[in-house]
Subunit: 234 residues, 2 copies
């Protein structure tokens, strides 16, 4: 099917199963034949069928339960996968020239809202960095970030004048858990100034909280330039 080979591959099976779902041969809620039977039909081993079905389940098309069998999901709970690239990569991928500029960097006491937001045990020192990312010298993103000193002590020696805090963190604390939120916010004086948009302009915004093994590391607000769209296909 996919290759002009003599054996049936798990990819062939995936394709065939998808086709049957598409064409309505196997409608939502249908209980599919078990792996044994499918292996017989496709004249391959159960191992191969298993891989095909397992992947289709992971992709959100099927639901599998031991003893109960495999059925077609009625409302495809399809998952959108956004790849979150480094901003430099994102800009360069669309052919722009990336430029970074530090706005400010200072060590301060964490404000109350941040203490609450990160569920810090007590008030902590944080490095507060603000910076800009440009594509072809037009504003692309304004970044406003706090990094918890206790979690990443090296941050006090870090130099953010040429390297952005995100890239620095990726190098320094490569392995993290993330909570990411997208929302629409309103450009205040500061954001409007940096992004070169009118005040009160709607701004696509991402909030990103990062932990390292349960320890909150950083809170970032990323304000995108006017007209930014975050896109995916599936």
């Amino acid at each position: 099917m996919s290759q002009s080979s003599d054996t049936t591959s798990y990819k062939d099976i995936k394709q065939t199963v998808l086709d049957r779902i598409r064409s309505g041969v196997w409608k939502p809620d249908t209980l599919l034949p078990n792996e044994q039977a499918l292996a017989l039909e496709f004249s391959c081993t159960r191992t191969t069928v298993n891989r095909a079905m397992r992947e289709l389940a992971e992709e959100g098309f099927l639901e599998r339960r031991r003893k109960a069998g495999t059925r077609v999901l009625r409302a495809p709970h399809r998952q959108a996968r956004f790849t979150i690239p480094l901003i430099r990569d994102e800009i360069e991928a669309q052919g722009g020239a990336y430029r970074y500029a530090l706005v400010s960097a200072e060590t301060v006491d964490a404000p109350e809202w941040l203490t609450a937001r990160l569920a810090l045990k007590q008030a902590q020192r944080v490095v507060h960095v603000r910076c800009m990312h440009y594509s072809n010298n037009t504003p692309f993103q304004f970044e406003d970030r706090c990094i918890v000193v206790q979690s990443v002590p090296q941050v006090e020696q870090a130099d953010f004048s040429t390297l952005g805090p995100n890239e620095w963190l990726v190098e320094t604390v490569p392995f993290t858990n993330v909570e990411l939120a997208f929302l629409a916010s309103r450009a205040d004086e500061v954001v409007a100034g940096f992004l070169d948009v009118p005040r009160d302009e709607p701004v696509f915004t991402a909030e990103r909280i990062t932990w390292l093994q349960g320890q909150p590391v950083t809170f970032a607000k990323l304000y995108f330039a006017a007209g930014y769209r975050m896109t995916t296909r599936f």
Copy 2:
């Protein structure tokens, strides 16, 4: 490790490998031992190692190339996975009572912008539906959708007075390709009215184009209520 079993499972291997990456034993760009060697180390078969490493690669931690081997990715290209639920499910999941209300439904000629946007060969008839989704009787989402008649002829007989067009489409055309974009837009007169927010309020907005085997089926703009956040963890 995970189970108190006597065999090494692919999950154990995944965990161990992740730990080594976390702890810096295997730093970014490190070339890992090949599957043979790992199988020996974990005293299991190469098949088991293969599954562990394959999944870690899929999850964005490793890069694998034939002959070149497996290496740790420097900037974890981790992917955010958003599950896009039916809006009814989303509302009910957070404990709200879902209510749907049709605003308008009419068959019209596709406006030019839509013809261009969907790359229609010629101007087509479309069903234009506008409707509201409420959570506990507060506005949650305003939906403005066009459905291409030629692609889904049954739509002209559809009754959207009690069933939302999205749910109808999921039932009728279960299998589709989707392009999804998120952006921040500004509430115009209409949107502001329906969402009960001031004019010019920033509104988190999703645009969704759906195809069925290459045929454009529907274009939808989904305006979310004030303060909506789309969240994910990874």
